[in-house]
């Protein structure tokens, strides 16, 4: 397979299928969440944030959980493969996005329910801590250097960062907090909400799971492309320089005969690179990372 024949988009059949279902789900969630489900007698319209906030928090935990499991798989000598490292990076990044969504939606809800944007409650503080430790993890992933060494460092860091997740999840049970306890999954007890509210909230988990999967698939493709760029960028650059040298030589040649020049035939079958517009653009992108 030549380099040019590989796809340069992060889209695939899987992302298109998952994306289609996600779009349908989002539309259904908007209709159910904003129109069909009734406002709460006490909380009023702000209760609609329950269709965003718990699902975001769950997907944030799922993202960091996948990151930790993939890191263990990378560190385990029998399963060591760079694909696990890429999965860990991609899932952590998507998890961070959902963690931000969780904090923002919670903050908006807190402003209307508690009267403040932020309070130093155990659950809130630990979630903020979770965000910054995983931002540190993502920063560590972007440090460059030998991919295997970087992957090992990142995997150990991911396991250190993941320690915060169970503590954050159990914060409302271990400490007296302002944040309410679990609404749906209460051991031996019925959920605290019923009817359309319960149905819409359950749908929000499904839709956010689809959205998470869609984002993860795209992010994984980007990770694979970046890895390819690191592996093959040098070959592309050499091929382009040789091709340019060859074209320049031909431009000054008198009509009729080639002259000895760079051995173009020795270059791998590399057409126009699928990423970027040329070697310079790739080089700049690498420097900016």
């Amino acid at each position: 397979m030549t380099l040019s024949s590989r796809r340069s988009s992060t889209s695939s059949r899987a992302t298109r299928i998952v994306g289609g279902f996600t779009l349908l789900g989002v539309v259904a969630l908007l209709v159910l969440g904003l129109v069909v489900s009734p406002p709460d007698p006490i909380q009023g319209e702000t209760v609609r944030l329950i269709y965003v906030h718990p699902a975001s928090a769950t997907m944030c935990y799922v993202g960091f959980g996948i990151c930790a499991l993939a890191s263990i798989a990378y560190l385990w000598p029998r399963t060591r493969n760079m694909r696990w490292d890429r999965l860990a990076g991609a899932s952590a990044e998507v998890g961070v996005a959902f963690c931000v969504a969780c904090l923002v939606s919670g903050s908006i809800w807190g402003r209307y329910s508690w009267g403040v944007w932020w309070t130093w409650d155990a659950r809130l503080t630990l979630t903020a801590l979770l965000l910054v430790v995983f931002l540190g993890y993502l920063a560590l992933r972007r440090t460059g250097g030998d991919p295997a060494g970087r992957a090992k460092r990142a995997a150990i860091t991911a396991l250190c960062c993941f320690i915060v997740v169970p503590i954050d999840h159990e914060a409302t049970n271990w400490w007296v907090t302002l944040h309410q306890k679990d609404t749906l999954f209460r051991i031996g007890k019925a959920p605290l909400i019923q009817g359309w509210q319960l149905g819409t909230m359950l749908l929000s988990f499904v839709v956010f799971a689809l959205l998470f999967t869609w984002m993860l698939l795209h992010r994984l493709s980007v990770e694979h492309m970046e890895a390819r760029l690191e592996d093959e960028g040098y070959v592309w650059a050499v091929a382009e320089r040789r091709a340019e040298g060859s074209a320049g030589d031909e431009a000054v040649l008198p009509a009729g005969g080639p002259r000895p020049g760079p051995v173009v035939t020795a270059v791998p079958a590399a057409g126009p690179p699928p990423l970027g517009t040329g070697t310079m653009s790739r080089t700049r992108r690498e420097e900016g990372r």
Partner: protein, 222 residues
């Protein structure tokens, strides 16, 4: 492993004793931080007395950051890290040795900072036994976590900016537990201060175990 640890700790402490960076630079920096806290809180004695324990531990955290950076920058020149890798010393031993050296420096800095908060902020030093045990456990946790993250960032070009981002959030439980224990000791927090020691001990145990297990691998990749 313990023999290797003592060798490495002795090496790091000898370098510090000869270069006097901790005493000539980090200790004065710690006092500058305390003075700046005083300016920031408008020299309000009441506020400073009440937030003194928290400010003390923030100053310790900032000093720990410098101590960790210093501990690994020592070995970045002249291929010293390669020498350490090739020395045949046990990875866990190197970790414990470096952590012990950092802990010893932090202990000295904590004494200086404690004198600073007592004199400058008027913070009381009640229940000395609780304070000493708190300092011992917190220092063990700071040194262990600092050494783990220090070696992760050691070989990177961006280590100076990356290390605070990685390390400071991770050290938040130490800041919380140690501050609450001290506040309880001087009667400014409800409940017994001793229960916070569980958090500090668990933190130190987790990072000491992690460091002993993973340091060799991390040093290979640094």
């Amino acid at each position: 492993m313990w023999r290797d640890a003592l060798l490495v700790a002795g090496k790091d402490l000898r370098v510090e004793a000869r270069s006097r960076v901790t005493t000539n630079q980090v200790a004065p920096y710690a006092l500058v931080v305390l003075l700046l806290f005083g300016f920031a809180f408008n020299q309000d004695r009441y506020v400073l007395t009440h937030v003194g324990p928290g400010l003390f531990w923030i100053a310790v955290l900032l000093c720990a950051l410098l101590a960790v950076q210093r501990s690994f920058s020592l070995e970045s020149a002249d291929g010293a890290r390669d020498g350490l890798r090739l020395s045949g010393l046990d990875g866990g031993g190197i970790f414990l040795g470096k952590a012990m050296a950092i802990a010893a420096q932090l202990a000295v800095l904590e004494v200086i900072l404690a004198l600073g908060v007592v004199v400058l902020f008027g913070t009381r030093m009640a229940d000395p036994l609780l304070l000493v045990v708190t300092c011992a456990l917190a220092t063990a946790g700071l040194a262990a976590a600092g050494t783990v993250y220090g070696v992760m960032a050691a070989g990177l070009r961006v280590r100076e900016t990356l290390l605070p981002l990685l390390l400071l959030p991770v050290l938040a439980p130490v800041l919380l537990g140690a501050t609450q224990a001290w506040l309880a000791a001087i009667g400014l927090a409800t409940g017994s201060g001793w229960r916070w020691l569980t958090l500090l001990a668990a933190f130190a145990a987790i990072y000491l175990t992690l460091g002993v297990l993973a340091f060799g691998t991390l040093l290979e990749e640094a």
